[in-house]
Assembly symmetry: C2
Homo-oligomer: 224 residues x 2
């Protein structure tokens, strides 16, 4: 359950019960204890209760344990394709290096701000105007029956990027404007020449070696 949460997504106890292969009551007991010991935190939203790791320290401990555990026995190394590290979808939003860069940039230029409890993002008035000019309807995203914007910790970068309704809307715009195009049978995304230029002009993000970034071998492959 904890390793499942390592990707930064908050999950319900039911989901975690399935992941852990135990009954809902068992999962509930575990989560209650994990909360008592400050390993996870929960946020109640209606009749759902979302669980996430309590903080980066817990994630660090889990990763350290993963390293140790990984050594003890000959292990399956799935050889993650490097292009997945650069740009991919995570459910319905952008993930990978590009998403992390964009996230950092949006915070730096003040389009989004982060609110202390948990990692809920808010779009600033300036951000809302600017996003509107790109074709992102922030108000509509806000009205959706789902979490608006929260930090999703990237499994390759281990740094937050934007998930939720806002993240989904951003991906939709990027796809619509053909800044990125989707691989047919994978979650990988390719940044187009147009996208590369736009990202540079609008956000100062220089893409490495576009549009050939899907072909270029990268230095280090990630585990899992």
């Amino acid at each position: 359950m904890l390793y499942c949460l390592l990707d930064g997504h908050a999950r319900t106890s039911t989901e975690l019960a399935i992941v852990g292969g135990v009954s809902a009551s068992t999962a509930s007991v575990h989560l209650a204890r994990l909360k008592r010991e400050r390993l996870v935190a929960s946020m109640t939203q209606g009749k759902h209760r979302y669980w996430r790791l309590e903080g980066p320290r817990v994630a660090a401990a889990l990763e350290a344990l993963m390293v140790v555990a990984g050594e003890s026995r000959p292990r399956f190394v799935p050889h993650t394709p490097s292009r997945l590290r650069f740009a991919r979808t995570c459910y319905d939003h952008l993930a990978g290096e590009i998403a992390v860069l964009l996230h950092d940039r949006l915070r730096a230029i003040g389009w989004i701000s982060v609110r202390p409890p948990g990692a809920e993002y808010e779009v600033t008035p300036e951000g809302e105007k600017a996003l509107a000019s790109l074709g992102v309807d922030v108000a509509a995203a806000r009205a959706l029956r789902r979490r608006f914007a929260y930090a999703c910790v990237d499994w390759s970068e281990r740094r937050p990027h934007i998930a939720g309704a806002l993240g989904a809307a951003l991906l939709q715009v990027a796809l619509k404007r053909r800044w990125v195009v989707q691989d047919l049978d994978s979650r990988a995304l390719r940044v187009t020449r147009v996208g590369s230029g736009e990202l540079l002009i609008r956000f100062g993000l220089r893409m490495p070696d576009t549009p050939a970034n899907t072909a270029r071998p990268r230095s280090r492959e990630t585990r899992i």
Copy 2:
């Protein structure tokens, strides 16, 4: 038991049994399993068997867990005096930042080499000559009925320095030549003006703010 080993000292199963508050047989079972899972490694010397952590990855995992565990409950923070971080004795050898710097330097200039299995050090022929000119009798240290030279991981620096007969001999020479002087009632050492100069000339080690390093406040205090 694992946390006890985190200081880098190899210990016997009897010692670890006492530390863990369990019987010798229980400790033995645990250690056997920890070895099977590659968390610890053992080295047999005569009728003693010395146990140590298997590697830096295990230490990293333990430290990460310590951080998490330390948060969960109000914890005693003993406020380690900063001068202990810089130079101190560890049983009978030098420890602290100065010992780590010296260790790195001795390896860099090829006076000592490390042999793969475990962390046993060997003194090179050149090293033996050079050390002799300083007054360190390597042959005598080697003849002693104890481990000659091994890596002791510093609790403040978390990096190896030289322990064993060689480490003890080095400290004795440093004390004899008054490169360092001992605090009366603590393990702290003070680097003298003479020592500061010698370390700079002979090893290129620049001491921070000597001889006032005992008084200077340092930026961060360590845990434990």
